[in-house]
């Protein structure tokens, strides 16, 4: 189970660990708990799966991965879990989700993401993936991204405010907004 301090900890680290010699101690000071407690809690949240990964989150666009395709497929429901698991094992795929179809307007139920340095590379990878995973008979669409209007990490506001325990570091939010949002969900990243 996760407790109120876990939520406060997530709120405190979601904008990023300080780049300093004792970063967990800095977080601990904000929360008035010990450095060891911070480390143990993060390790437990990772083991529990709530933290899916703990580490460097890169900005792929800035690193030259400017072609980003979301590919949507219409896969028979009885196959979708198997196909999803198979696609997820391909090195070029970053994300793979099942989502509900929206009738004839949007009949797709499987989504995956391929990031590449160019459109050509991404399309080649997709062609290879279709063959490797036997997807050739399924209808699909490739949606390349054009403009990025907003991108940031998911910011989860803490559900309780402990005295003056507001995070000083929620990116892009003024303190007033942060207080206003503290009982709802704040603002966000990959």
């Amino acid at each position: 189970m996760i407790d109120a301090i876990d939520f406060q900890l997530i709120a405190a680290v979601q904008a990023g660990l300080p780049i300093a010699a004792r970063p967990y101690a800095a977080i601990a000071e904000q929360l008035a708990i010990t450095e060891q407690d911070v480390i143990e809690r993060l390790a437990r949240l990772k083991t529990q799966g709530l933290i899916k990964r703990w580490g460097v989150v890169v900005k792929h666009r800035q690193l030259g991965y400017r072609a980003n395709a979301m590919i949507v497929m219409d896969v028979p429901d009885e196959w979708v879990a198997r196909v999803g698991a198979l696609i997820s094992q391909q090195a070029c795929v970053n994300l793979c989700y099942q989502r509900p179809r929206q009738g004839e307007v949007w009949p797709y139920n499987l989504y995956c993401m391929i990031h590449g340095k160019s459109r050509e590379v991404v399309l080649e990878q997709w062609a290879e993936l279709r063959h490797a995973c036997n997807l050739c008979e399924y209808p699909f669409e490739v949606l390349f991204s054009r403009r990025c209007f907003k991108q940031r990490g998911a910011l989860y506001a803490r559900p309780i405010a402990n005295g003056d325990g507001l995070s000083p570091s929620l990116a892009g939010q003024s303190r007033a907004e942060e207080i206003k949002n503290k009982l709802s969900f704040g603002v966000h990243f990959a």
Binding site: A25, K59, Q102, L143, K150, Q151
Partner: protein
């Protein structure tokens, strides 16, 4: 150009950043450099916007409710609608994509009613219907981003 140290830091610490009192010193020892070099390199990567953060990626829907939302907006009105959508604190990602559904964004809220209320508000404010696409299953285990740093 990325220095070899920068490449290692970007690639090797996406999954298991050290959970020890001195993580940057641990990394320095693993890579055979000084702690200051590691700290300076991360500072540079952060300033140059190559990393978003060192921190957690939270499993989808483990805290709160999130959903992908798509809208079909006339090109001439897209900038206005996108700006309106981005202004919501619940919106994390907001992209234009090449499709008749040309605006795609991810919302996260503390509950399903809150999520639906925000979407209803977006529909009212923008004047266009929104297609709600919540995640039903996540097939991907490893969310790290493998960089090809050899070219």
């Amino acid at each position: 150009m990325l220095a070899p140290l920068h490449k290692r830091l970007l690639n090797d610490y996406q999954q298991d950043f050290p959970l020890s009192p001195t993580p940057y010193r641990d990394i320095a020892e693993q890579l055979g450099v000084s702690e200051d070099e590691v700290l300076n390199a991360f500072q540079t990567l952060s300033e140059q916007q190559m990393i978003s953060r060192i921190g957690p990626v939270i499993a989808p829907n483990s805290i709160g409710n999130s959903a992908l939302v798509a809208m079909a907006v006339p090109d001439t009105d897209l900038a206005r609608v996108a700006e309106l959508v981005s202004a919501y604190p619940e919106v994390n990602h907001n992209y234009e994509r090449e499709n008749r559904f040309n605006l795609w964004f991810v919302l996260i809220a503390d509950s399903e009613p809150h999520l639906k209320a925000v979407i209803a508000d977006i529909e009212t404010q923008t004047g266009y219907p929104a297609m709600l696409l919540p995640m039903l299953a996540d097939y991907f285990i490893n969310l790290g981003f493998e960089l090809n740093l050899h070219d």
